[in-house]
Each structure stands twice: as C-alpha cells, then as structure tokens.
C-alpha cells in the first residue's frame, strides 16, 4: 500500500474529531471520500499532512509502510505527500516565482536552473489555462476562489507528489474551471501516484476514473464502494446512506 490509515483518532482542544479512520490506497488508485459538512473530512486532510493544531490520540498513518506521525509537515511533503487546501493561505509580499522556486528547491533537494524552471512552470500553467501575469502576483493574494484552486493544482503538477490529498478541490469552481482541474488531475494519474479526493459532490467524479468511494460521517469511514456509491449518495442523500450503514 502507498498510503495506509489505521484506526486514526485525532482531537483538537480536547474535542475528538477523528474516531478511528481506516483506509488503504494502493499505488496508482484514485479514491474519493464523500461526506456531509462537519463530518471531519477536512480535519482528516490536515491530520494526514501533520497540522500541529491537532493531537493524534490513536492509530497510525503509513506511507510506503512507514509511519509519518513523527514527521513534520515539510518532511511529509518531501517524502511525497501533498495537500491541496480547500482554502489556500495567501502570502502577501512573496511573489509566485520566488515561492515556487523555494518549493521546488526543497522538494527536489537542489535549485532548479532558471531556464528549466520557467519552461516547466509555463507548460503547467498552459495546461491549466492560467494567464502569464499570474507570475507577477503574490501567492494567492487577491486571487479568486478558482484562481487559488488552479494555483494549488499548478503546485501539485510541479511537485509531482506520490500521494495527493485534495480537499474539496471542486468547491467554488465554475463548470469550465472544474473540467480543466479534473482533466489535469486525470492526466497526473500514474501507476506510482495515488490520490485521495475529498468532496461533497459527485460532479468532479464524472471526469475521473475512480477506483473507490468512501462515505465519511461522524469522524470515520462508514461504508465504501465503487462509483455506484457516489451515484447512490447523489440520489438518496447522505442522511439515508448514513442511516442505512449505522
């Protein structure tokens, strides 16, 4: 397994949010986690990436069979994990090229030559239909919701992670932006890369070849299935599916 989550429990300020999450994703697969608001999906993404505000109270997270619990967020990123934020933070005063060069230097362990860097960034931006002037701006500063999401996927394309956790990458996108992002994700699918897509809605799933769907409620996965489970959720709603699996 590339990513294994075993009986994961986590809390914030004494309040238990994750209550025994179990999930395994083999290399090359795309899994989706779907669940209602407040079920703990975003907490799961933060905990996987090691946000210090959460306390792990039980269980483990394994990458290639090795626990990452003792690793800081930057170490997890350099080991191949990537979190696409639902609400990416803006960093005023730091330009996109400066930021991206810093990111790539750390991920790849060496400075990327400037020519190579420019070409790589421009190619990825073209794939995401991003305008050139994007590079003159500060990181996420004054970006629209859609621009922020494209920027996240741009970074994913450059960082080439082995495991990508995508927290509501589809929220706040118009239909064209959703298609472009989904197509880029699909293009990034590879036998040695796994993706965990956290979402409310089925619409992004229509663009992707999905391997598994998991329903998340009350801090854990309550049932799993194939694409048909997402369709059932769309038809019957979360409440009915959750009730049937209690």
């Amino acid at each position: 397994m590339l990513l294994e989550i075993k009986g994961l429990e986590a809390s914030i300020e004494g309040k238990e949010i994750l209550k025994g999450v179990n999930l395994s994703i083999p290399p090359g697969e795309i899994h989706a986690i779907m669940g209602p608001n407040g079920s703990g999906k975003s907490t799961l993404s933060y905990v996987l990436m090691g946000h210090p505000k959460y306390t792990i109270t039980g269980g483990d997270i394994l990458l290639d069979g090795k626990s990452v619990l003792a690793m800081k967020p930057d170490e997890r990123a350099r080991a191949g994990m990537f979190l696409c934020f639902q609400y990416p933070t803006s960093i005023p005063g730091v330009t996109m090229p400066n930021y991206l060069r810093n990111v790539l230097k750390n991920i790849r362990g060496a400075d990327v030559p400037i020519k190579e860097f420019r070409k790589e960034v421009q190619d990825s931006m073209r794939n995401l239909s991003m305008r050139e002037d994007f590079l003159k701006r500060y990181v996420n500063d004054g970006f629209s919701g859609g621009e922020k999401k494209r920027n996240e996927i741009l970074q994913m394309a450059l960082m080439k992670p082995r495991v990508a956790i995508l927290d509501e990458v589809d929220s706040g996108l118009d239909i064209d932006a959703l298609r472009i992002i989904a197509e880029n994700l699909q293009a990034m699918r590879s036998p040695d890369r796994s993706m965990l897509l956290i979402t409310h809605y089925q619409r992004i799933l229509n663009y992707l070849t999905l391997d598994k769907v998991h329903v998340f409620a009350e801090g854990r996965i309550i049932t799993s299935g194939g694409r048909e489970l997402a369709e059932r959720l769309e038809k019957e709603g979360y409440e009915a599916v959750i009730k049937a699996n209690k």
Partner: protein, 368 residues
C-alpha cells in the same frame, strides 16, 4: 546678511540653556525613557554629510542654505529640536526641475554625537527623490539628532526615504516635517533597524487643497531596543488625502510604539485618511503598541485605521511547510513577505530592496 533662519538659530541658542529633556507627561514622550540621556556628554564637532548621488539639484551649505530655506513656523518643539536648530550642520537641497539626491550622515572619527539639519526645497511642478542614509557605529554610546524639512511646491512630486541601520548603542532622534502646497504629492518612507532608544516624528502639513501624503515605514528591533514612531497628517485644507502604513518585526524584549495622528480642523471638507499598523512579535516578551490619535473636528471626512499585533500566522506557516519548506525557512519567507509590502514602495532598485530586507532580517535573527 541677517536672515530669518539666522534669527531663529540665534533664538534657539538663547533658549537652549534653559531647556530640559522632554517630560514623560507630554503625550509624545510618554513611552520614551530618556532618563539616562545626557546630551552634554556627546561631542558633535566634525560630523559629516556625504553627498553620495546628486542630479538636478544644487546643494548649499551654511549661510547660503539659511537664506533660502522656507521654514516651518513656530518655536522649537523640544530640547532636541532646539539643540538641532542651534547647533546643526545644515545643508539645503535646492531642486531644479527633476532631482535625485542621496546623502549619508556619519559621525566622523572625533564625534560621538550629531546634529544635522537638511532642508529640501522642491519648486512648483518639480519632482524629487531624496534618500538619507544613517549608519550607526559599533562601540560606545552615540547620539543622533537629525532633522529634515521639505517644502513641496504646488503640483510637485516628492519621494523621501530614510534608511537607518543602527548598531544598538544609539540614542536616535529623527524629525521630518513636510509642508505641502496645492496638488503636491509626497511619499515618505523610513526603514529602521536596531538602535537603543529612538523617537521619530514624521509630520506632513497638507496646507493646500489637492495635496496627498503617503507615509510608510518598517522597523526591526531586537534585544531591549526601543523605537517610538509618531506619524502625523495635518489636513489643513479641503480635498486632501493621507495614508500611513507602518510595520514592525520585534524580537527579544524589543518595544515598539506607533502613534498615528490625524488632525482635521473644523470646516475642512472632503478629506480621506487611512492608517494601518501591523506588528509581528517573534518572542513573548517583545511588545508593540499602536496608538491612533484621531482629532477630527469636521464631518465631511473618511478616516480609517487598523492595527494588528501577533505572532507569525500559524496557518500560513503550515501552508508553506506542507509544500516542503522547512520551518526556519518558511518563517524567513513570511517575514520577507511581510516587509516586502513596505519595501516595494521604496524609491530603490529591486536588488537594493531585497538587500535591505535580507540584511534587516539577518541582523534581527542574529541579535540575542
């Protein structure tokens, strides 16, 4: 030749023996601890004003300077103002139509104190970029008393930058006064690093309609260093606007005070004003105070102010770390970004702006 400034200088010399250090009962000096300062122990002879760059301006010294400067009205405001007026080495920068002047203040080898006074005359329709550098001297205590007065003529455009790199052993007093005439635009910036105890006054008098003032600043302090910056916009005329933005990064037991003063007398119409003060505290014992003082006696005005004091944004730190950037580097990047929002407004090359930020942060991180 008897001139107005010569008269004022004589008056200052007469008043000086009777003057005392400013009292902490005075609002502007309430937080500044001058108890250990004895200005008589500092020798101020032989100090140097070096002209590093000069284009489009004439520089006059001594009597020639005194005879042509337009003066700020009123008696000296305090001991430092009076001592400066009485004893300062003085130059007048007389702008022609478009000027760039860069000067450097230094002590020289014999002095350990300094009174310098710079007059800048920018005539109607002219533009000027004036940069003043102050570089501290390691070792024993030094005393710096620098005053600059700018006359911005009608329709002129002026940029003034004060770059101060102190060493931590300085008493530093800076006063910048700007008199703005009709439709003038003035941008004033200060970048200040270190210094034992400091007080800076920046006052713009928007005396005629259509004038605009922007004041920005950034300060990094460590150890037990202290700086109180007081920026004032006096909106004397209708249709004037001002904005202030001041940022600090503090470490150790450093203490920063920002006073944002806004004065709008009765009957003045259509004034817009904004002031923002952001502070980052890198240690729990560092302190930042933000004091907006808005004296608004007119109704037709728009005035906003805001201040933040806090640690580095933890979510931003997590965001950067989640992209593989180690914590120390991520903190440095956030600090750089924080200060870059000020340096991007400075009248300097990109390379110089980057150098200022990296040097300031390096010195701050090295201070213990």
């Amino acid at each position: 030749m008897t001139t107005l400034i010569a008269e004022k200088r004589e008056e200052a010399r007469r008043l000086l023996p009777e003057m005392h250090l400013p009292s902490r009962q005075h609002e502007s000096w309430r937080r500044v601890n001058l108890g250990a300062l004895d200005i008589k122990r500092y020798t101020t002879t032989g100090t140097i004003i070096e002209i590093l760059e000069k284009r489009g301006a004439e520089i006059l010294e001594g009597d020639a300077a005194y005879s042509q400067a337009i003066l700020w009205e009123g008696a000296p405001e305090d001991l430092f103002d009076c001592a400066n007026l009485a004893e300062a080495k003085t130059i007048l920068i007389k702008v022609e139509t478009s000027a760039h002047v860069r000067i450097k203040h230094s002590m020289g080898s014999n002095a350990n104190g300094l009174h310098h006074r710079i007059y800048v005359m920018v005539p109607e329709g002219a533009d000027a970029s004036i940069i003043e550098e102050t570089q501290g001297r390691p070792g024993d205590s030094t005393f710096w008393n620098l005053h600059t007065e700018i006359y911005a003529g009608a329709g002129s455009s002026v940029r003034h930058l004060s770059i101060r790199g102190y060493e931590g052993n300085e008493w530093n007093l800076h006063r910048l006064r700007i008199l703005q005439k009709r439709d003038s635009t003035v941008h004033c910036s200060l970048v200040h690093s270190s210094g034992q105890t400091g007080k800076t006054f920046v006052t713009s008098r928007l005396a005629e309609s259509g004038s605009t003032f922007r004041g920005v600043g950034m300060t990094t302090l460590g150890k037990r260093e202290f700086l109180d910056v007081e920026m004032t916009a006096e909106h004397i005329a209708d249709h004037t606007s001002s904005s202030l933005h001041y940022k600090t990064v503090l470490k150790g037991r450093a203490h920063s005070v920002f006073n944002g003063n806004l004065l709008i007398p009765p009957g003045v119409r259509d004034v817009q004003s904004q002031q923002i003060n952001n502070n980052i505290l890198l240690d729990s014992q560092a302190r930042a105070e933000s004091q907006p003082r808005l004296v608004i006696q007119s109704e037709e005005v728009s005035a906003e102010h805001g201040a933040t004091v806090g640690e580095i944004d933890r979510d931003a730190l997590f965001f950067l770390m989640s992209r593989g950037i180690p914590e120390a580097e991520a903190r440095q990047l956030l600090m750089t970004g924080f200060l870059t929002q000020i340096t991007e407004e400075l009248p300097l090359s990109e390379a110089e702006k980057e150098k200022i930020v990296s040097e300031f942060l390096k010195r701050l991180y090295e201070s213990t």
